[in-house]
């Protein structure tokens, strides 16, 4: 199903939960709506489902405006955050519910439910009740129930939020494979960027009811368009005095621009360890944390606190130690846009140093 959202706004009292949002989603894609809690993602999902009505704007499914089509008639499957399984029905009856509504013949229902039970790997528990299942199993039932009436679009509201961290990763992969196998257009909401990056073909990033950016995870990671996206994605930090960093005096210096940095942009070490030792500037190690696969070093440079990763193969740095720091690139924020600026000293070392 092709989904088009045009200038949609939704207010709850004085709060604009969704603020003039427009986007298009092509058929067959797996889309992640990502953003902090209260960013308007769930409200948008519910408007597409028909569970909320937009105050302004249109929702268009397969070229047809559906604002006034009741949710029952939209042909959309919905997986709720806490699954919302029918407690007094068995797994089988839960999955069969949507088919019974459609007045499908008994034999066909049986066949379809069994097919779905097999698909989600729950053949053995058809006669159990929801309270007899584990969290992961319940999620699978909710998934199968939503798919039973063969919807054209599957919406999932925080599908992994209610599951133990351990099982969550496993279910993520499972869900992605399952949706790809069925080939159904799907949209899921999450506040967890790892989850969105890992599962989605395409991400839509929301903040304060506005759509900040749409694109593939890699694209968004590499080219964040707005200050919000630059700071939300990855382990980003806002710098206090970016103009004091070697190489960025000019890029940042003019006007009141701020800058965002990520650990992978920063190189920290002793003189001979760095790739551009002559363009590096001194800094002092403040803290050093062991993070399993690497060390995380917090270093202070001219009033800026930076974080860098350091391989475990290298000699550890001690707090208080003076080191050299080289910044490969920065996101420079100018008003409402974010620009990635490479350090000019990498290609154009100052002649004085030669």
């Amino acid at each position: 199903m092709r989904i088009e959202v045009r200038n949609v706004t939704k207010r709850f009292g004085n709060l604009k939960a969704v603020d003039n949002v427009s986007f298009t989603i092509e058929e067959g894609k797996l889309i992640g709506l990502l953003g902090p809690s209260g960013g308007g993602k769930s409200t948008l999902l519910r408007m597409i489902a028909g569970l909320e009505k937009p105050d302004e704007g249109d929702i268009i499914l397969d070229g047809k405006r559906v604002n006034d089509v009741p949710p029952q008639k939209r042909g959309i499957g919905f997986v709720f955050q806490n699954y919302a399984l029918f407690r007094h029905m068995t797994v089988f009856e839960n999955i069969a519910f949507g088919l019974e509504v459609k007045k499908v013949k008994k034999a066909e229902i049986r066949e379809r439910v069994n097919e779905l039970l097999k698909l989600v790997g729950l053949e053995g528990v058809a006669k159990r009740y929801p309270h007899q299942l584990s969290g992961g199993q319940r999620q699978r039932v909710a998934f199968a129930r939503a798919l039973a009436p063969r919807p054209n679009l599957l919406l999932l509201d925080e599908p992994f939020a209610a599951i133990d961290a351990k099982v969550r990763k496993e279910l993520r992969t499972w869900l992605k494979e399952m949706i790809e196998a069925i080939g159904i257009t799907s949209i899921f909401v999450t506040h967890d960027q790892d989850e969105a990056v890992e599962v989605a073909d395409e991400m839509l990033i929301f903040s304060n009811g506005r759509l900040e950016q749409q694109g593939s995870p890699i694209e968004i990671y590499r080219h964040p368009k707005t200050p919000f996206v630059a700071s939300f994605i990855g382990e980003s930090r806002v710098l206090q005095h970016p103009e004091r960093l070697f190489g960025f005096e000019e890029a940042v210096g003019r006007g009141d621009k701020s800058a965002i940095i990520r650990p992978e942009f920063v190189e920290v070490g002793r003189e001979r360890e760095l790739s551009y030792p002559r363009s590096a500037q001194p800094g002092i190690v403040r803290q050093s944390y062991f993070r399993g696969a690497h060390l995380e070093v917090e270093v202070e440079v001219e009033g800026n606190r930076l974080v860098a990763y350091r391989s475990l193969d290298r000699e550890p740095l001690r707090p208080g130690e003076e080191v050299l720091v080289f910044i490969h690139r920065l996101y420079v924020l100018d008003g409402s846009s974010a620009v990635l600026v490479e350090n000019p000293l990498k290609t154009d070392p100052l002649p004085v140093h030669i």
Binding site: P71, Q72, G77, R87, F97, G98, P130, H131, A146, A148
Partner: protein, 277 residues
């Protein structure tokens, strides 16, 4: 009933439990046991004759049927009242919500004379039905109305909190699967309310069987026709027929306790399902 399973730093276990058990025994257990002791003094044939006498059987029947009917009416209207109070907005809702508890708070004798004055042939409502040849007060219909009054809050107050806590999610799940309102109500909401409705029914029924004050005025107390079992106990006591009164009381106690067990079992099962569900 001995020993604290949990090693507790809190004081007063022995004192509070000791007082509880002592007071319970003195006020409830020993007096109730007197019914058993009294009936134990009767031979079985005496006992059987006392509880199967035609007038006694008629009284059981009246008490049982009117209580059953009233509880059934209360299940329907209690659900309606709870539904309207939980789901809709209307002016004076809080007042209406408070009014539902009136039967709990109003002394039964007051309810009895008030209902009688309204539903008597000369009363505000009774006079409307009199020309149609329908008598309400002094008939089983009157008894049923009094028991509806007494039992209503039991149903409303057991259904209301469950309805309040029902997740909107579940209804929306049904909606997303294509179900409209009536089907959602029947297939999704009503089964969730089945347990509290049953509990409310049992509570209203149990109360109805034993009710005295609100019924004696409106029932007319005609033997074989509108005489309820509690009144018959009263009559036998006034005639100093203690054995007869006690025998009827024992039968009623057994029915009540059976109902109490059923209610507790249902609530236990329901809370267990909620816990794991």
């Amino acid at each position: 009933m001995k020993g604290s399973g949990k090693a507790s730093v809190l004081p007063g276990f022995g004192l509070s439990l000791g007082f509880t058990v002592l007071y319970l025994s003195l006020i409830v257990i020993i007096p109730l046991a007197s019914v058993l002791i009294k009936t134990a003094g009767m031979s079985f044939s005496e006992f059987w004759a006392a509880v199967t006498n035609a007038r006694v059987l008629a009284a059981y029947k009246i008490s049982f049927l009117t209580a059953l009917l009233a509880a059934a009416v209360n299940v329907v209207f209690g659900l309606l009242v709870a539904w309207v109070l939980v789901r809709y907005r209307f002016p004076g809702k809080r007042l209406v919500d408070s009014i539902v508890d009136l039967p709990f708070a109003l002394p039964t004798a007051v309810a009895g004379i008030a209902l009688t004055s309204i539903y008597a042939p000369t009363g505000w409502i009774g006079s409307l039905f009199e020309p149609l040849g329908i008598k309400i007060a002094y008939t089983p219909i009157g008894i049923t109305i009094a028991l509806i009054f007494i039992g209503l809050p039991f149903v409303v107050r057991t259904v209301q909190p469950v309805l309040q806590d029902l997740d909107q999610d579940v209804e929306e799940a049904a909606v997303m699967l294509g179900a409209y309102r009536w089907r959602t109500f029947r297939k999704v909401i009503l089964p969730e309310l089945a347990a509290p409705l049953m509990t409310g029914f049992a509570l209203a029924f149990a109360r109805g069987i034993g009710e005295y004050g609100s019924v004696v005025f409106i029932s007319g107390n005609m033997p074989m026709k509108t005489e309820i079992a509690p009144l018959l106990i009263m009559t036998k006591l006034e005639q100093f027929d203690y054995e007869g009164a006690t025998a009827i009381a024992l039968v009623m106690l057994i029915i009540s306790f059976a109902l109490l067990l059923v209610i507790n079992y249902m609530q236990w099962r329901y809370s267990r399902r909620l816990k794991t569900g």
